[in-house]
């Protein structure tokens, strides 16, 4: 069928003779790529091997001994990093490609085993004592360094997660966490701060062109964390009428992210902002209407939801159109 189309396009004069010849020979010359299949197999192999070894060590820890295990993990980690330092393409503040397919995986393995090593050390020997902040701070720094030095987005995500862990651990002493009686207000403030730090990183990344392609990761995590933390703050203080102050920074942030996304033409972030703001507004309206009219409010509310959602659909379609029109200029 495809060849018929090529033939027709050729006879109608849309395709030149050279192109037509190439296209009709396509099924003979075209290579079949098994790239993703093999990559999946590689990934699966790494997962199976590390899982199997983990269980094997766990079951035989009595005969192997902790030092041997630690030495083994350290050996893997060091080996991976030596390989990466030898093979890497010179550092630059822009985007750096991996020298070969295996590189990213080896770097990932090295980083994971490094984190495991520190964690194991702390768990078994309490090297950092009760100073949990230190125990999470050092791997975090190392991860950020690796992410920037070797240009690895996956390790950047790991570093961001360990930043969250470090901030969480530092504000909440272990005893409180263990008994589940942690102060939720403190946690919320911490995560607002965490989200804002990420957004600042995103801004700085863009402003000073430091690994510009990292911005998406920072922005992505930052937006979700900040919005969710602010909403959590709003609902946490639901009894008090003054809780709407939580929504002031919420909408200020939403406006900032919206305009930033417009400038960057990132429809993903526009969509996120709109959906989060819609949720916040909807809960605000629900509250106001319920306060005014009690249960009679339900019809009005449902109609409000329908009308506003239809409005949002038109808004989305419009924004999409505008973004595209801008692109044409």
């Amino acid at each position: 069928m495809d060849n018929d189309i090529y033939k027709k396009l050729h006879s109608e004069g849309y395709l030149g003779d050279d192109s037509y010849n190439q296209l009709s020979q396509k099924h003979l010359t075209q290579l079949f790529s098994v790239h993703w299949e093999l990559k999946t197999l590689l990934y699966l192999g790494v997962m199976l091997l590390s899982g199997g070894l983990g269980v094997l060590i766990y079951k035989n820890i009595d005969t192997i001994g902790h030092q041997a295990v630690l030495a083994f993990i350290a050996l893997i980690s060091i080996g991976c990093f030596i390989y990466c330092f030898k093979k890497k393409i010179p550092f630059s503040w822009g985007k750096v490609k991996a020298p070969n397919t295996g590189f990213d995986y080896i770097l990932l393995l090295g980083s994971i085993s490094m984190v495991t090593f520190v964690g194991y050390l702390q768990y078994q020997y309490q090297v950092f004592g009760l100073n949990y902040g230190m125990a999470t701070f050092i791997p975090m720094l190392a991860l950020f360094f690796i992410a920037y030095y070797f240009d690895h987005l996956g390790i950047l995500s790991m570093a961001i997660a360990s930043l969250a862990l470090w901030m969480g651990v530092s504000v909440t002493p272990k005893t409180l966490l263990a008994y589940g009686t942690f102060n939720s207000k403190q946690i919320i403030f911490t995560y607002v701060a965490f989200g804002l730090i990420l957004l600042t990183f995103a801004f700085l990344t863009q402003r000073f062109a430091i690994k510009k392609h990292f911005k998406f990761t920072y922005h992505h995590y930052g937006i979700h964390v900040t919005f969710i933390a602010l909403l959590a703050g709003y609902f946490d203080n639901y009894e008090s009428a003054a809780n709407f102050v939580w929504l002031v920074p919420f909408f200020a942030l939403a406006a900032y992210i919206y305009f930033d996304a417009r400038r960057e033409r990132s429809f993903y972030f526009i969509l996120l902002t709109i959906l989060y703001s819609y949720f916040a507004l909807a809960s605000l309206i629900t509250r106001v209407l319920y306060g005014l009219m009690k249960y009679d409010a339900i019809y009005l509310l449902l109609m409000c939801f329908i009308a506003s959602a239809i409005g949002l659909i038109f808004l989305l379609i419009n924004i999409n159109k505008n973004l595209k029109q801008d692109d044409h200029i």
Partner: protein, 393 residues
Amino acid sequence: MIIYKKEWLKNKYIVDLLKPDYTAGRITKEEFIKIKTAHPVGFYMPGLMVRVGLFILTLIIAIVATSLLSLMAFISVPMGSPGWPIFLGIGCYVLLEFLTKGKHYFHSGVDNALLYFSAGLLGGGFIWIIIDAHITTGDNLLGAIVIALLCIYLTLRFADVVTGAVACGAIFACVYFFWAMMGKFGLATMPFVMMIAAAGAYFGFNNLSKNAKGLYYTDCVAIVKLISLLTLYAAGNYFMVNRLNNMLNGLGDSHTAIPFGFIFWVWTVLLPIVYIWFGLKRKNTMLLRTGMVLVAASVATFRVYYHLLPIEIMLTLSGIIILAGAYTIISYLKTPRHGFTYAEPEEANTADNLNLEGLAIGQATSHLPPAAQAPVSRFGGGSGGGGGSSGDF
């Protein structure tokens, strides 16, 4: 039957067919631009993120609107008639037809949401009627037939992948329930009947995909083929047959023997290999990937019945074997051999460039005299929507 303009669908197929040829450099930019201009696609097909947003919002509207209507209609009487969801479903469907025709939506999120919502309401209503009728035998079959007919109609009309998949599953369910009504003989021969049905479906749709008629339903045909392949495997998988046999005959799960068990073991072990073999021979990605996934399923099936090695040793060994195998193949394919390569597929690695090119093309074509009556702004909204996906991230 199909709601979309056939000419646009054809044009879309042609442009989609030639896009990889253009990125691979088999045709020149001028030729591609000429072909795109001469084959306009006027559908509204926004990028993925827009579609997700529209889908969520439309679903919210549909849910809130139906609950508002239900609330108003049943303010005093308790709702208790299957006619109500069917009524709502028909209303939803009419809106869907109206919007799709008027706004030229083509799987844009809005129409997807309305389609699934109305299908759910209609299907639920019909099932409700069947349950209310208290039929003693064959109610399962009746339900499956109703769902199948509904989804076949919707798939033919809207060429949607999800309804296509549900229709295919419902048809297999029909075959199953129908054969189960044959009593003892039916149950004993069930796996073979399902195998025949699945194989027939696969080969039938495989022929259709080569036919010009299948052009409007490329994605639906693909999903039906995939489900048929999976059903074909599941019909003869030892674990599936064993459990079904136990369930139907009221035996416990400890019962592991089945009549002619040998056949099913051969099936379980060989079929994935056959898939992979044909996938490589025919250079068919779907067969190859399905085969790879089913190898894992077969290994899992085998482990349910035989414990040769402790799990950790098995994991470690298989990890080493897979890594070594993958590494060997990768280094073997460093230079392409026998038509295979380890290089990334050509469509994927130029995705970024393609967007920019799409924009450049959209701009260039605005100066060309349009061959058909396609407004230029539409054109950018079409599959020139390389521009459409540029909005993502």
